[in-house]
């Protein structure tokens, strides 16, 4: 751990708002400091992760054996709907927004985001949206039409409780929060970069977050429009999605997936960004092919708007349309896939240190690849015609969303927790967390590929006693329990290390981006001084005055 003295520009940066920090709970709740807001986003995500995790365990208990009646179908249907909705909107989004919120100003040498009060608003909109969604449980029933809420099942005749209305309102409110946060981050990145930090020198995490915010701005409106139209149907007896009275069930699907597909890239790109920060530091080498990684991110961003109907291959849209979306979906695999090679090449000939962060990042490479490959198989749509809407798809989505986003987030948290709190997370507990998570995760989800190929459809509250279905489901359930235990280990690690973790210092990992050029945790105004920025790794340049990056043409 080194504290680097540096000859900075010595200039303090202008502060957007007065920076006094109130003490106590009220100080936190009313804070407009991006660091506190970021942490509150993370805590919100953690709480909902608990809820979503319990929902997952309930499902796995019900599915452990054939023809089970631990949960009625009506309850199970609410549970699987809430599990998906919670994990995407109230775990992945807040956690990623929280990390972005915390880190972006620090990584660009700013003292806060462009609109600190708006920042607080986005956080509270998200929290309110989540509370509203969960309120449905005690208001007559949670939504039970699935997280993508297909019509006409989601319309009043078939979903008569107010669950779907709470779903719509909760997501509308949270969605507005996301768009507001996206605007905030884009303006911050465009306008608040420290002198010398050109766009081509941005840390890759910042690049990925920037592209993600544009995706949010263009994709959330599709969801908002859909939800608004659904609410008008349900509450004002209108006809958007009711085929019986002139509406179109298929339009819902197009609109939802016009949001839904970019959404999954919204949720994975920041994780790619975290991996792109962690792997270089723990390999002691710069990222391999920075320009290609950045460019492929932009390509993914653009392509992500052109693939949505690969969620609709079974709808019967016709071979021409199926073909078009197969082309775009196969194409998007390329910029996504080549990143894996860039990350491996970064490790190649490096001096790798397997901290817990690096363990998660390295295993991410393999589990995300599994998810990516099953995704490619789905783009080959005659295969999709067999395996979509089965447990094969459940396996795919969890490999990319959990193996991808969550493993990436774990890597990021082990990496940046010292910066946020001033203390290291325990490596000992961390290794237990990692290994139990890796084993539990693969046990839970790998068998699902087989279950799908064997004919088990998704969203079923139980299944007949067909050969080996019970066995594979039981293995999956045991894996889920292990994942639960692993998550508890993680929470314990955070709890214990917060109080008595090893003191971190400014730069415990000897990393190179700007957030490591200030104390851990940073002062309210983030930086007393900014080091000179002449390359992508300002702190590397300070450490190596005889061969800084900018002398190598980088």
């Amino acid at each position: 751990m080194s504290d680097i003295p540096f000859p900075g520009t010595g200039e303090a940066l202008p502060l957007p708002v007065p920076q006094e920090q109130m003490a106590g709970l009220l100080g936190w709740l009313s804070s407009v400091d991006h660091k506190r807001i970021g942490i509150m986003y993370l805590l919100t995500g953690l709480v909902f992760f608990g809820a979503g995790g319990i929902e997952a365990l309930l499902m796995r208990i019900q599915l452990a054996r054939p023809v089970s009646s631990f949960l009625s179908p009506q309850t199970f249907d609410q549970v699987f709907t809430m599990h998906g909705t919670t994990m995407i909107f109230f775990v992945a989004m807040p956690v990623l927004t929280g990390l972005a919120n915390y880190l972006i100003p620090l990584m660009i040498g700013a003292s806060d985001v462009a609109f600190p009060r708006l920042n607080s608003l986005s956080l509270w909109l998200l929290i309110c949206g989540g509370l509203l969604l969960y309120f449905s449980f005690i208001a007559g029933g949670a939504p039970a039409a699935g997280w993508f809420n297909y019509a006409p099942l989601s319309e009043k005749p078939y979903s008569s409780t107010v669950g779907v209305d709470y779903y719509s309102l909760g997501l509308l409110i949270a969605g507005i929060g996301s768009v507001v946060a996206a605007i905030n981050l884009i303006v911050t990145i465009i306008k608040y970069r420290a002198p010398g930090l050109t766009v081509r020198r941005l840390p890759l995490f910042v690049w990925m977050v920037l592209v993600t915010q544009f995706l949010i701005i263009l994709a959330l409106p599709a969801l908002n429009a859909s939800l608004v139209m659904l609410l008008i149907d349900r509450r004002l007896n209108a006809h958007f999605f009711q085929p019986v009275t002139g509406g179109s069930a298929i339009l819902w699907q197009h609109y939802f997936w016009a949001f839904g597909h970019p959404e999954v890239y919204i949720v994975i790109l920041p994780a790619f960004g975290m991996i792109s920060e962690v792997i270089p530091v723990f390999s002691r080498k710069p990222i391999f092919g920075y320009e290609y990684v950045a460019a492929s991110t932009v390509a993914i961003g653009v392509l992500s708007f052109l693939v949505w109907a690969h969620h609709m291959f079974a709808v019967g849209l016709g071979h021409s349309i199926d073909t078009m979306f197969a082309i775009s979906s196969l194409l998007i695999a390329v910029p996504t896939g080549v990143k894996i090679f860039n990350w491996i090449a970064t490790m190649w000939n490096g001096a790798i240190r397997f901290t817990t962060a690096m363990l998660f990042a390295t295993s991410f490479l393999i589990v995300f690849t599994i998810g990516g490959l099953s995704g490619v198989s789905l783009a080959v749509f005659p295969v999709d015609w067999q395996v979509t809407d089965t447990y094969y798809l459940v396996a795919h989505l969890h490999y990319v969303l959990f193996g991808g986003t969550v493993f990436g987030v774990f890597a990021g948290i082990y990496y940046w927790f010292p910066k946020m709190t001033g203390r290291m997370l325990s490596e000992k507990i961390g290794k237990w967390h990692f290994w139990t998570m890796l084993i539990g995760f693969n046990m839970t989800f790998f068998v699902m590929h087989f279950l799908g190929l064997m004919g088990m459809t998704r969203r079923v509250y139980t299944y007949p006693n067909l050969p080996d279905w019970g066995l594979l489901n039981m293995i999956s359930t045991i894996g889920a329990v292990i994942m639960g235990i692993s998550s508890l280990l993680f929470i314990w690690n955070v709890w214990v290390s917060r109080r008595s973790g090893e003191l971190a210092g400014d730069n415990p990992w000897e990393a190179w981006s700007l957030e490591w050029a200030t104390t851990s945790p940073p002062p309210v105004h983030n930086f007393d001084r900014i080091p000179p920025i002449r390359s992508r790794r300002p702190l590397y340049d300070l450490e190596h005055p005889d061969h800084p990056d900018w002398k190598n043409g980088h």
């Binding site: 462009a114 996206a182 605007i183 306008k191 263009l218 409106p221 429009a225 008008i232 004002l236 958007f240």
Partner: protein, 195 residues
């Protein structure tokens, strides 16, 4: 650069206007989806017949002129402010407010008329898509009028004595959006009904 040019450059794409631009990008996308829905239903069902029957493009066209003029008047107001002419600034703001309000009143009257003809949001798919699209637009106009009213009151109190105001230009940007998206909506709904 002299201070005048510097001030202009500072305001040109400052935080607020950049944020508003991004916001309008998202709102524009939202409207695009509502417009596409209207177009889709118009194409696959007989809403076109209904639209031709009950809509009055001429009346709506007149109110449209009011709304689009307000885009020019708010621009005149901005020019007045830049020239240091507080009176012009405030007067043109007031005219903008009035023109916008007239548009909304016109919309309201049309809604009442349609309601009398039995066209409601729950009646059929035409009613559903028409009221949703125009309703959300009207709502955005209302929010714009509120913002303009706030600016106007602050202007009367002397808050905008400088020659450049980020707040004024940002609100004006929103107002332009609301006006010109109406051109698209008007064409899709009223002109298409007739042609």
């Amino acid at each position: 650069m002299d201070t005048e040019a510097q001030a202009i450059a500072a305001v040109r794409w400052d935080n607020n206007k950049l944020a508003m631009l991004l916001f309008l990008l998202s709102e524009g996308t939202f409207f695009a989806f509502l417009i596409i829905a209207y177009v889709y239903y118009h194409a696959i069902s007989n809403t076109g017949v209904e639209a031709a029957k009950v809509l009055d493009p001429l009346k709506a066209g007149i109110y449209t002129v009011f709304l689009l003029s307000s885009s020019f008047t708010v621009w005149f107001a901005e020019k007045g402010l830049r020239r240091g002419n507080q009176k012009a600034f405030r007067s043109w703001l007031l005219v903008t407010l009035i023109l916008g309000a007239v548009f909304l009143v016109g919309q309201g009257r049309e809604y009442l008329h349609l309601y009398g003809e039995g066209v409601t949001v729950s009646g059929n798919i035409f009613g559903t898509s028409f009221f949703t699209l125009t309703g959300f637009h009207g709502f955005h106009v209302l929010l714009g009028l509120i913002a303009l009213a706030v600016i106007f009151v602050l202007a009367l109190k002397g808050d905008f004595l400088e020659r450049h105001s980020s707040a004024v230009e940002t609100v004006a940007l929103y107002w332009h959006f609301v006006d010109w998206i109406w051109v698209v909506i008007f064409s899709v709904i009223y002109l298409w009904a007739v042609f």
